[in-house]
Symmetry: C2
Subunit: 241 residues, 2 copies
């Protein structure tokens, strides 16, 4: 009994949201154009109006649509108004080349944030409690290294999250969270990134060691290690799928 991959049936509004999101990203509706009215969409999708309303409001939050009472839903330029949570859908619509580029760029963003975090941490004393939390997260990752990849990925993100938490900055954490969640949902990414989970654990241990005496000179080494791992991940991703 290694694992039990439960499968959940997505809710109706989730299905509707996915369908509509795909349609928008596919370009079925011209940007700036108006979507069909809710009632018509409901009939087309064979679902109640309340359900499509839920889906549409979701897309509005995501930045794909805007809405005004009495007027209707208009397609937005999601690159100018959307959030990172759109990336999985974008990856789904891109070819192999485009998908790997998207992932590569997202990892670059993550490294950039990591650099800011490390820079901020440099020279400061990290509280013992937070250092202990990081150690705990690393150990947890080591513990599930042989288990399902999904758990490894989550544990890996938990370590990074703990490091970011050590900055004591809510803005940092809230900015990183969506990126981590996106990385978790990208299919095949975990398989490409955690081919040898224990190496990742070792890398984290290096970072934890640095945190004990965070001198700025140590940052480039850590960052280059991250870059190496990310590069290998992208290469593996290209080769695989």
């Amino acid at each position: 009994m290694t694992l039990q991959p439960i499968e959940v049936r997505p809710s109706a509004v989730e299905a509707c949201a996915g369908s509509l999101r795909d349609a928008v990203l596919r370009g079925d509706f011209v940007e700036g154009a108006r979507l069909p009215p809710e009632r018509q969409l409901a009939q087309t999708l064979g679902v109640n109006r309340v359900t499509v309303r839920g889906a549409l409001s979701r897309l509005v939050v995501e930045g794909l649509l805007s809405v005004r009472q009495g007027s209707g839903y208009v397609v937005q330029d999601f690159l100018a108004s959307g959030g990172p949570e759109l990336l999985p859908a974008l990856v789904g619509h891109a070819d192999r080349q485009g998908a790997s580029t998207l992932v590569k760029d997202l990892l670059e963003v993550r490294r950039g944030l990591a650099q800011v975090v490390l820079t901020r941490l440099a020279g400061r004393r990290v509280k013992k409690a937070e250092l202990a939390a990081i150690e705990r997260a690393i150990s947890a990752m080591e513990a599930c290294a042989a288990g399902p990849l999904r758990d490894v990925a989550e544990a890996d993100f938990a370590v990074l999250s703990a490091v970011v938490a050590a900055t004591g900055s809510a803005a940092f954490r809230l900015t990183l969270n969506p990126i981590g969640q996106v990385l978790l949902t990208l299919p095949g990414l975990a398989a490409a990134m955690y081919r040898a989970p224990l190496e990742n654990v070792a890398a984290w241990r290096v970072l934890a060691g640095w945190l004990a005496a965070p001198v700025p000179e140590g940052i480039p080494l850590i960052l280059s290690a991250l870059a190496e791992r990310d590069e290998a991940t992208v290469q593996q991703l290209k080769r695989k799928s």
Copy 2:
């Protein structure tokens, strides 16, 4: 006739979402605890169940709650699962000191992303079309420098957005978008940041000039200028409110 600040009445589900969000962030519900059922919340808030459902689903997307059919809504650790769009609400619940710290950190995140973007742009040739778009955005900002602050802030963000767009990376843009939107909604921030809009325009022009021949050596100067402006903004914010 300088401007006409229209006022819109927020929708019912927005109001409900705000009320519930405040309650959660204020700690009225213990983390991990279950919220009252939808029907009860509807009665308490004096609104239909459909309406509170909309508000609750919104909070789920924001990472404040999780939900399971038959079980209920449970409060999440938003620092571990929330997105940057929570920051305005957080600022509203913080004291003066905490609020300015939140803003300062968010600006630090933005500078970090700017650094990554500039690093990526360095050494590459920026396409003429994108350079022109940046110039256009700067001119648009200059044009509305004397107008309402809200427009200045939007134009300023549009410039940064154009610069990021020059990277050709969707991940970069989608990561930055929420941060920009948050900065736009923070009350009083525009007043603190754009006390002399023309200076900001001049700074952008410097950046645009660098983009014509993006040598890595020019990056620190631009970044330090940004840091200076952000620092001044935070100081002004502390002093003011």
